[in-house]
């Protein structure tokens, strides 16, 4: 039993789900649901359909080259069962999964940082231009003047002394 990948959107296809299409040149296409199947029949390119993983990877929106991704690779030669090897592999899998998720999240965060910078710049300019909408322009000025006068008086008194 294997969990396959959908040809169109790269989602996991569990056993008992989805559809398989075999072409005359013996190439097998698996689909996770009819949405992917119908898009395939309409001859859409998954690398150009924005919601698929293929698009996201090819457009650099997600982590593509990384050591943690090299662990999961389809091997064509089966290995004989060996209890310790299997148990070690399971532990390793769990650890690798954690690291992989961290790295993927970090990648996406870095990508979105630029947007954050633009956001900040826009906020600053917005505040500079339109602060008058929420605060009166001379709101604190009377108080400021008073403070200045008090300070000046204090200085004068000092100088006098």
């Amino acid at each position: 039993m294997r969990i396959e990948k959908c040809y169109f959107c790269s989602a996991p296809v569990y056993p008992g789900h989805g559809m398989m299409f075999v072409r005359n040149d013996c190439k097998v296409f698996r689909f996770c649901r009819s949405k992917c199947h119908k898009n395939f029949k309409k001859k859409r390119n998954p690398r150009k359909t924005r919601w698929t993983k293929a698009f996201r990877k090819s457009a650099g929106k997600e982590l593509t080259v990384d050591n943690s991704l090299e662990f999961e690779k389809r091997r064509n030669i089966p290995v004989k069962y060996n209890r310790e090897l299997w148990s070690k592999t399971m532990e390793a899998m769990k650890k690798v999964e954690i690291i992989k998720n961290k790295r993927q999240a970090r990648f996406i965060m870095n990508r979105l940082k630029k947007g954050k910078e633009l956001d900040d710049a826009a906020n600053i300019s917005e505040v500079k231009k339109n602060i008058h909408l929420i605060r009166a322009p001379h709101a604190g000025q009377a108080k400021q003047l008073e403070d200045k006068m008090v300070q000046k008086l204090a200085e004068d008194v000092e100088m006098d002394e």
Binding site: K73, Y81, M93, K102
Partner: protein
Amino acid sequence: MALYNFKKIMVVPTAKDFIDLTLSKTQRKTPTVIHKHYQIHRIRHFYMRKVKFTQQNYHDRLSQILTDFPKLDDIHPFYADLMNVLYDKDHYKLALGQINIAKNLIDNVAKDYVRLMKYGDSLYRCKQLKRAALGRMCTILKRQKQSLEYLEQVRQHLSRLPTIDPNTRTLLLCGYPNVGKSSFINKVTRADVEVQPYAFTTKSLFVGHMDYRYLRWQVVDTPGILDHPLEERNTIEMQAITALAHLRAAVLYVMDVSEQCGHTLSQQLELFNNIRPLFANKPLIVMANKCDVRKISELSEENQKVFTDLTAEGIVVIETSSLTEEGVMQVKAEACDRLLAHRVDTKMKTKKVHDVLNRLHLAMPSKRDQKERPPFIPEGALLRRKAMETNAPKRKLERDVEVELGDDYTLDLQKYWDLMNPEEKQDKIPEIWEGHNIADYIDPQIMKRLEDLEQEEELREKAGEYDSDEESEDEEMKEIRQLASQIREKRKLKILASKEKDTQGSRMPRTAKKVSLSVQQSYSCIRLNDSNHYARRSRSLVRKRKREVSAPPTSRTRSQSASRPPRDQSGVRDAKMLKKVKTMMKNSQKDMNRQGRKGESDRHVFDVKPKHLLAGKRKSGSTSRR
């Protein structure tokens, strides 16, 4: 050689069925509609066709019967004789002859009536002629009822005859009834002949097949023969005699030593001597059967003498018992060997042999040195042969385990696996974890790689890659962000509020032109305080305007109209907004374009009730839904 055609003979219908069949076929396969007013040649052709069709059918079917049934002269004399015994040659030939005559008669009838019909001058007359023709043909056939019945019975019996190949290696069993011939054949072959204590249990010939020395052998079981002259023999015995006479086989004459068959040894010897001439040119073996009851050595002196006499003449006598299987193999081997030798001898005597012999050359290589080169037999084969001979218990099969456990049995193929640690054989192997296939991760170096990865991860963490950005933001930025969001909210509210206000009042569309009234019109107009007002001209005036000499537009100059921004750019502030506006436009037009409509208001349906959806029958299914 017409061996297998006996099964392929077509069914011979009874006379009544035959007539019904042919007449209904004529009715179905020829045109049925004819009217008085048709042209006469058409009417004639119509009825002639019917007559000829019927004649053709009869002719075909009867010819087929004649060709299907074997000609007694053409088949092997064994079968010819057998058929004579069973069905009487004369009766058979007569029946077929009658059929032939009937066929010719039918042909003649048809020919005559077709000739007559050429002169038929009305529909009624042609029709009567056709009726007469068909009637006569059917009567001819009705007279053949007996022959057809007989032939059908012959056919059924013929198809059930055992297929005996007269030319291949055969062993023939003969003797008195109840001596043990059928038991012998049951032992030696896979045949299942009935064995019963009464005489004449076997009433016809039976064939069994066996293998010896990689060759196929036929064993033919015959009904018992009693001792009377040839003329007084009945059909059942005659079958045995026929087989004896025509098959070139090794003869196994079975004698009952214990005399349980009801006939003494001397009687059996008598019979043997009587049918001795039939054994000429055939290898002969005498089987002293039922030796488990009484052996030859237990017999009386004179009976023993019988056997010693036989042996003295050069005939092989073997003691057998079908019950204990004593001597059965011996008989088999002896008979087969002698028959093979006999056949080779006969072949050597014919002329054809020399052609074959000239082409054969047996090469015996001469030894080049004294080294012994025995044939190589692998150890496993030797062991197996030993096991076969000693009948050692074989390894326990899965089937035996299944039978043992009965209901609790489950097929557990994992126990046959070849693993490095056999105690792991019963493990349940995990295949999937959290959407990943474990098989994709299996790698002997996985632990090493994992270590490297973890080291790398540590380095990255130390380098500060995973630090959160939240703390790097200072208080000021937070405050600015908050203010900005407040500002945006306030702006939105203001925009909404301004939208509520009706600042401009009701507006004229921009296509409306400024109109300067003529004096006449100004007097008729009520609102005189508006000297320059933009008014929509009435239709008739617009038309009138067109017919007169076109004057330059009085309200605007051309340069002014050009300076007005085009529609899709008015009100658009920047490129981003332009893009959005364009997208909105395209979106709203998508539906209309897809449906092929001219615009929003185009609601024309080209085909309100398409015929191909609403009319017609369904190919399969009901039309209750459309």
